[in-house]
């Protein structure tokens, strides 16, 4: 009986969760050893990317479409709020061989 109630609550919460609009998420993308770490698989408009520079070098996360440009000294972090959908390629202005890609859903 207790189990049934718990299941019902979980189900109700799940349904409520689906009905709600997208809750903005924050994803971390690291910079280390002259490269970017993995990017999140599912980014949506309104989500935040927190760039964390763990490297000994200064790096940027610069969108090729100009939508963001975060310049980070070693051991610092910065954030970008994603404001449009689509594929956003980014690179480091100082080390142009450092590249990454975000695939943003609407």
């Amino acid at each position: 009986m207790k189990l049934g109630l718990a299941a019902a609550v979980v189900l109700a919460l799940a349904v409520a969760g689906c009905a709600k609009p997208h809750q903005p998420q924050t994803y971390v993308v690291t910079m280390a050893d002259m490269g970017y770490g993995p990017t999140p698989a599912s980014v949506r408009v309104g989500d935040t990317i927190k760039w964390v520079n763990n490297d000994i070098f200064q790096h940027t996360a610069t969108a090729k479409d100009g939508s963001f440009d975060v310049d980070l000294a070693p051991k610092t972090s910065g954030t970008t709020v994603i404001d449009h959908a689509g594929t956003i390629d980014f690179y480091c202005r100082y080390h142009p061989g450092m590249t990454g890609r975000l695939s943003v859903a609407g």
Binding site: I56, F57, P74, H95, P96
Partner: protein, 173 residues
């Protein structure tokens, strides 16, 4: 193979033949000295560009060289201290320094766009040469795994800088 590469690197830098004749397989203390010297040379070249150039792209690039090579050299100093190794002067680093001094004197005579172009071209050549030396000699010959790992970071850095220097040189044409 190693001899050939050192010869090629020496040619690119116009090293004196006497330095070549003495070039033998370097030990870790010598490797650390060569890598550190290469970094210092590029920091000095960057400072020269910062003092002489008025081109924003060149100044940005020079700032990056000073910043990155200082960062990696600070890591190198911390590592040799930790390992209790004293970097050892050797003919290769002496030849590198000599060639760099000559280049610095040559660049000192130039100004404006002529300086910018010559600096960018030399940055491409210098990074290419050091990359070659890291790949063919310094990394394979390094015995200590931490030194090897730092040199590999150095190779990534120099490769990125070469790429950036090539873009800079192309944009100045």
């Amino acid at each position: 193979m190693i001899r050939m590469t050192i010869a090629a690197a020496a040619l690119a830098l116009a090293l004196p033949a006497a330095a070549l004749a003495q070039a033998a397989k370097p030990n870790d203390a010598q490797i650390a000295h060569i890598a550190y010297t290469a970094g210092q040379i590029d920091v000095a070249a960057g400072r020269q560009a910062l003092a002489k150039s008025h081109n924003k792209k060149v100044l940005d690039f020079a700032n990056e060289m000073v910043r990155d090579h200082t960062a990696v050299n600070n890591q190198a100093l911390a590592l040799v201290k930790k390992l209790g190794v004293t970097p050892q002067a050797n003919p290769t680093s002496a030849a590198l320094e000599k060639a760099a001094k000559a280049k610095q004197a040559e660049l000192a005579k130039l100004s404006g766009a002529a300086f910018d172009k010559a600096y960018a071209a030399n940055e491409v050549a210098f990074h290419k040469t050091v990359n070659g030396a890291l790949q063919s000699t310094l990394i394979p010959d390094a015995q200590n795994p931490e030194l090897k790992s730092l040199l590999q970071t150095g190779l990534k850095l120099f490769t990125e800088h070469q790429h950036h220097a090539e873009m800079l040189a192309a944009s100045l044409k």
